[in-house]
Amino acid sequence: MKVNVKVTDLGPFKGVREFTLDSERLNVVEAPNAAGKSSLIKGIAASLGLPTKRRVTSELARRLGLLPNTPEDRNPLVNIEAQRATVELSIDGQPHKLVALAYGLPKVEPPGDERFLLAGLLLRESEIVRHLDEGSDDFSWLVSTLSLSSWYEGAKRIVEGYQIEARDILERLQADKRSIDNYQQELEQLRAEREKLIRRRKDLETQLSTVLREEDPDLTAKIDTLRTDRNEKERNIKRYQQMIADRKAERDRREADLKRIKVRLLELEADLKKIKEQLDKLPTRREIEEAEAEASELRRTTIPNLREEIGYWKSKVALLEQAVQHITKHAGIVPCPLCQECQAKPIGLIQRVNFERALTNARDRQREAESKLAKAIQKAEDLESLRLNVDRKGKELQKKKSELEAEFNDLKGKQIEAKEQLEPISQELSSLERDLLREQTELNEINTRLQRLLTSGQFERRNQLVTALRQVELDLGRLNERIARLESEVESKIKVEVKGEVVQLASAISLYQEWVETLTDLALQIDDAIEQQRKGAARSFNARVTPLLEEMGFEGLRVWIDESSYKLKVLRGNVEQPITSLSGSERHALAAVLTLAAKEAYAPDIPFFLVDEVLLDFDKKRLTALSNYLKETSRSSGMLVVVSRLGGEKLNVRSVEEL
């Protein structure tokens, strides 16, 4: 694979430069100091790895110098004399463009893959290099960032926020419920006390009547009349109170009906909106025609081409299998059995491992082509059946829409009717409350007159009884006042507002209890997902580290991420060692292995691996091993490897063989 790179005003370099990168070679960016090597590598990295959506990778992009440190700072990728820098890549005919503005966020089209910043870049500022340099063995950030675990952690933080809010509200509601229970207990005691006082009043009044009868029979008759009037008024008041309570209950019932209608209407509105959205989303006639044209194109060109490609890979696999068998038979290192030239003029020795790798690659390519063919056939079938599916779906949605609209209109009618029925009840309630007030006023007048008559005589016994009666009336008044206040407190707390709706306190408590339970269950499920993601990521990573260590000549060294602590474990021989025990050059070589493992585990689909400066610290053996591995990988997998090197007189990209 060849990729054309065009850069404009990038880093120290002013003007336009074009380079070609080739997966058939190890591409070396060569330049003297401060001539733009790192800027070129970082520019390519930014065009493949930006923009980042996650906070953690945004910080990494800043540390790598792909973004300014603060929004006010100048972008380090832009030449100091320019207002913008651009990097344009053409990968398999697909253009990628980065426009880095001197100030503000860069624009990348199409958007990059942020995993590339962790798994495709080997720089001094790379996160893996930094951690190893600092001697840190905590690699939980790697499994979190490269897997979906950090997304689940973000979701968990949101759910925890909701849990805290719901628990606070629930505690407040439960405190209100406890207050109401206390008030009601107190109310029961006060009502019992009031009954006792009423009985005492009756007793005193009987005694007073006897005394008064003995004093003046006419007075007794007047008092009796007033008492009869008082009793009648009290009966009337009770009757009115009962009628008012009945009407209020009726009103509450109707209001609850109205609320139910309102809730259902809102649900119907939401459902209708969803159906409308689904109808709007259905493909248009033009899109269907385009799909049919695309299906026809797939049947005519893509599918036959893929079949041809599968045939090609099948024959190549057969040939390579034959070659591997041949080599296995002759064991070890043998002359090339494939090359025509070998028979006439042997050109050298080929390692068996290279054939096996080429065979694996050919099988992968065959499988890949087969998978593409299956997808293309499936896609063609899907596209061909699009018109039929759209018609059927459209009819279903229209039918559902009509049903919902009918229910909606019916309920609207019922809502109007219920509102009309509510009005006379409210009017009747007002009238009853006026009547009750009138009866209470008249009762007060009767009581005043009665008191006046009762206190008109001179006898000591009568005065004692009257004083006692007055005291009872006073106590009764105080009790009634206290009862009314408590009843009003209960009334104010028995209903609460939840999301704009007034509901009973008990219902609100039950609602929030269920909501807290739901959020707790949800948080547990998210915890499981986080753990699964992290373990899976560590496992994929570890599976690639061991063969890479062997390949790079780390004999007797085992390195892996522990699946419970997510710490990087290093074992030399059978002895566990801290990272700090590794030499600086060893840590950088290990960083190269870990970055390559991360690349193979998490970002195999991005065909780039960029290396800057880190290689300067390698000893000759490791440098050779890494170069050989990178050369071989780029040849077998089509990955573009770009490394920087100090040298030459100006910025240039060459093949390692040319150097």
Binding site: W515, T518, D521, Q525
Partner: protein, 46 residues
């Protein structure tokens, strides 16, 4: 009922995470779920 709702919420959050959707969409899913729970309880309590 809560377990069923939690499972449904997890399924929807899972979909959003796989689409790398914005956090505000997760909040919207939770807000909608609370309103649904409220409406369901109101219906049950009549």
């Amino acid at each position: 009922m809560t377990k069923e709702l939690a499972r449904e919420l997890f399924r929807r959050i899972n979909e959003l995470i796989k689409k790398e959707a914005d956090e505000s969409e997760i909040r919207k899913v939770l807000d909608d779920a609370f309103l649904q729970l409220m409406a369901r309880k109101e219906r049950l309590e009549g």
